[in-house]
Symmetry: C2
Subunit: 143 residues, 2 copies
């Protein structure tokens, strides 16, 4: 049965992994943000004061690459650097502009998604919300 759960999840995740959607989205929202930057923005939104190393680790790119991407995003005003307690660690947080951008991305994604749920009754939605929320919480435990 875990197999079925996983198969379905694989389909769902694959469906959402369509950078083309994000491009159109960013264009429509008139946000001048390269799609390559989105993973950084998303993670900065989930985890304020995230460090270069944590970003690199989560996104799966070399820290040097992430460092240079973050340079750009800070310069462009999407991220803000936080005061350094440990001087080695550069931590960044979404700026207000960044938060607005992330929100717009979510809203646009949601709009595209909402259409697909047309056939769901209120009870269906309620169940879906409950099940997904638990799954999200489970996945985010620990690591």
């Amino acid at each position: 049965m875990d197999n079925e759960i996983f198969e379905a999840l694989f389909e769902i995740v694959t469906f959402f992994n369509q950078p083309q959607q994000d491009r159109d989205l960013l264009k429509r929202a008139e946000i001048s943000l390269e799609p390559a930057a989105l993973p950084i923005i998303v993670r900065a939104g989930r985890q304020p004061e995230i460090s270069i190393g944590e970003l690199a680790n989560q996104i799966g790119r070399n820290h040097s690459s992430v460092s240079r991407q973050v340079d750009k995003l800070v310069k462009a005003g999407w991220l803000m650097e936080v005061e350094r307690r440990d001087q080695r660690i550069r931590r960044v947080t979404l700026s207000q502009q960044g938060q607005r951008a992330l929100l717009q991305v979510k809203v646009a994604r949601e709009a595209a998604f909402r259409q697909r749920l047309a056939d769901y009754s209120d009870a269906d939605r309620s169940e879906l919300a409950r099940v997904l929320q638990r799954l999200a919480a489970t996945l985010n435990e620990r690591g």
Copy 2:
């Protein structure tokens, strides 16, 4: 409530979007496949006889880039070219080797995922499977 559904999905999708996992995975499975090639393999698995253009559109990269990636994957034996009915269109399908690789990736992802479900009872799993399968089917309707 749709908002909550979407928030949870966003979290779940973000969790799975960790290329680092795929790297480790491919290494453990001893599959010499660059992570950049995975989206192509995955989509070829979902949609046999997929064309360069469809791949490019779904993955969000330029067709020229995809064309060159596909060159490599064919050369390396992961993909097979299908006989051309329309001579303009190059269609590819997973080779047996490619199918095995995709399966291994799924199995490895599943193993990492399964650990997280430790707290789910059989009933919980059953419900999760049912709800996710319906969602996956809903998302895959039409285009």
